[in-house]
Symmetry: C2
Subunit: 235 residues, 2 copies
């Protein structure tokens, strides 16, 4: 199998925006480990047909006969194929798994509420219909009413992020001098916020804000190469 | 300096109960590293006079001319005097620092609200007065009204703990096969709950419940040697 057989399906908006937090985690792992891949953008409504069909979420990593979905499963598969160092040992793996679940139960919902309308605006029409229908069903209210108090939502999110700011403790990354997968999980979340709406979710946590800038610079500026929501709308 | 010069000041209740989450973290570190010490129990109102005076919180570790207060500072001092392995590398240190701050901002407040009245009942009269006055000032309400809905508080706490249950991911400890300081931080919190009130705070997270039993057995059953609130009241 040559490297060009490796195909990553990633979510994209109407103008090719890449904003999925889960996909960004995978992309950072692939870049960190120097693994080449072809990227294939899919809209929300294309996911079900991607990679032969049967998957409900992205990222999907397709390698010849092996297809892995779910960012955690992909991370385990790829990282454990190497020396496993990207997890940062058993402690770093625990921390990463904690952040994975903590993100799904809290931080990502918060960003989704803040940016529901701008995410919707950024989709192609067929994906807009799906996104609105599915999210309004999940939250039982119109997208426009998901976040009646953005400042309160930002304040609560900043408070939840404060221990992560402390956790850096002057280190460049959660992994110390170099990032570990725990860094990439939180990076994916922050990149999702950066690319899907105008809110500066890290502004109350200066340690995290500086950390995010470092992450955006990693791997030749991979993260920074994706325009932020603000950059796209300033054009 | 001989080992008997090392003195640990720990909070104790009227019947010598040791329930401070921060002290338990330190005791587990000392036991893990095989460091001997003399223990000196102090009530809430004795802390200010302990170890020559000037400290506001326990634990206080007094070693000849060196006196360290604050569980995090003590952990850093002791662990970094060894090979540092108890932190579990930079990733484990980040995870520990995260849990330290996350505990102070959330979990410990939740346990305090749940057990405020039973903690108060367990103190000597002079310490009862101090505990009631200081906590009622902090929360701006009577101790008896701190937790109007214990089931709701337990449910919220269980939800906040869920990602930590996932984080174990089948490992015996957050550190993998052996505990790291992150384990001892969470252990201290859970031991505080176990020793200060009747609530089974881990019952909705079976992975954490099993982990806590393992922690209670560590170091010759050090944690288990302290009677739980339920055991004391069943006598």
């Amino acid at each position: 199998m040559t490297e060009t057989n490796r195909l990553l399906f990633e979510l994209e908006g109407a103008q090719g925006q890449r904003f999925s937090p889960y996909v960004w985690r995978t992309k950072m792992v692939l870049a960190h480990l120097g693994i080449d891949y072809q990227s294939q953008g899919v809209g929300f409504t294309d996911i079900g047909q991607a990679a032969g069909g049967g998957f409900k979420t992205v990222p999907i990593l397709f390698e010849g006969q092996v297809c892995v979905s779910d960012s955690w499963a992909i991370a385990e598969t790829i990282i454990d194929q190497t020396d496993g160092a990207l997890f940062g040992g058993p402690a770093g793996r625990s921390f990463a798994r904690y952040l994975h679940d903590w993100s799904s139960l809290g931080m990502l919902g918060s960003i989704l509420r803040l940016n529901a309308v701008t995410i919707w605006q950024d989709q192609a029409p067929k994906d807009q219909d799906y996104f609105r229908r599915s999210r309004e069903k999940r939250f039982a209210k119109p997208l426009e009413e998901l976040c009646p108090d953005p400042q309160g939502e930002l304040k609560a999110l900043s408070r939840a992020l404060r221990p992560l700011d402390s956790a850096l403790g002057g280190q460049p990354f959660f992994g110390g001098q170099t990032p570990i997968y725990a860094d990439y999980i939180l990076f994916g979340n922050a990149q999702f916020a950066r690319c899907s709406g105008p809110h500066a979710i890290l502004s109350q946590n200066p340690g995290l804000e500086a950390w995010f800038e470092r992450c955006l610079n990693l791997h030749g500026g991979l993260g920074r190469s994706e325009p932020s929501y603000i950059e796209r709308h300033a054009r």
